[in-house]
């Protein structure tokens, strides 16, 4: 199993740099297929933004922890924040007619569709969102 873990705290404009770093790592060191990375990063981006906005409530001093693992052709991201977490059942369906034209509320929907699985858990004072996706590894990338 390959594994990397780091923590950061940042302004929202700098989240992009963290994501670019993850993307570079997945492409160049773990040599994962570019298309798989694109969709996996759709999920990673939404979860990191969610951790910053709703988990840490934009408090730039609070950390976000990222754990990435590659095992058996599956990539796993565990993204944790210091917030109270949420219940998936409390999130309105953004595709229902009354919510369709709303400007927000699609993050979980995007993550679910971009990745193969999504789960939430609380552990050691962190609220964690775990996403998994089957990926192709490219030998000569």
């Amino acid at each position: 199993m390959k594994r990397v873990e780091f923590e950061f705290s940042a302004k929202i404009k700098l989240l992009n740099i963290v994501e670019k770093g993850i993307e570079y790592f997945l492409l160049n060191l773990w040599k994962i297929d570019e298309d798989d990375i694109y969709w996996f990063m759709v999920g990673v981006h939404e979860v990191i933004v969610n951790a910053y906005l709703h988990g840490n409530k934009k408090d730039e001093s609070l950390p976000i922890r990222v754990v990435l693992m590659l095992h058996g052709g599956e990539i796993i991201a565990r993204i944790s924040d210091k917030g109270d977490g949420f219940n998936e059942n409390d999130i309105p369906d953004p595709t229902s007619p009354e919510n369709l034209l709303k400007p927000s509320g699609r993050g979980i929907l995007f993550t679910k569709n971009a990745c193969d699985s999504l789960r939430f858990f609380r552990e050691d004072n962190w609220f964690t969102v775990e996403i998994k996706k089957k990926v192709k590894e490219v030998q000569n990338a």
Partner: protein, 112 residues
């Protein structure tokens, strides 16, 4: 990072977008640009998304919100050259049907 360049054909404004429409920068930049077009009296707008590489949930929400803003001001907003990935993102959100979108610029221009 989102780059926007503006050109005009008759009374139709085309915004050529390049980069990402995401939270914090791209979404706000696009909103500000379109609001300034509306302030100037422009009512026919095409977003050329050929070089948009990625749009997150906030960016998607912003494009929906802009469509509603333009309609409320008696204008029309059309999309041009959606890549397959951007089309997939709209499709996930079940939003493709609310937009007029085209693959050919002349066709989009004629549709106003």
């Amino acid at each position: 990072m989102l780059e926007i360049s503006e050109r005009k054909k008759g009374d139709i404004v085309i915004l050529d977008l390049k980069g990402k429409i995401t939270i914090g920068e791209g979404d706000r930049k696009l909103r500000n640009w379109i609001e300034s077009l509306l302030e100037r009296g422009e009512r026919k707008i095409i977003l050329n998304m050929a070089r948009v590489s990625y749009m997150d949930s906030s960016g998607t929400g912003e494009v929906v919100s802009l469509l509603m803003t333009v309609k409320k001001r008696d204008g029309e907003l059309k999309l041009l050259n959606l890549s397959q990935k951007i089309k997939d993102i709209f499709q996930i959100a079940q939003l493709l049907s609310i937009f007029d979108y085209y693959t050919d610029e002349d066709e989009a221009l004629k549709a106003f």
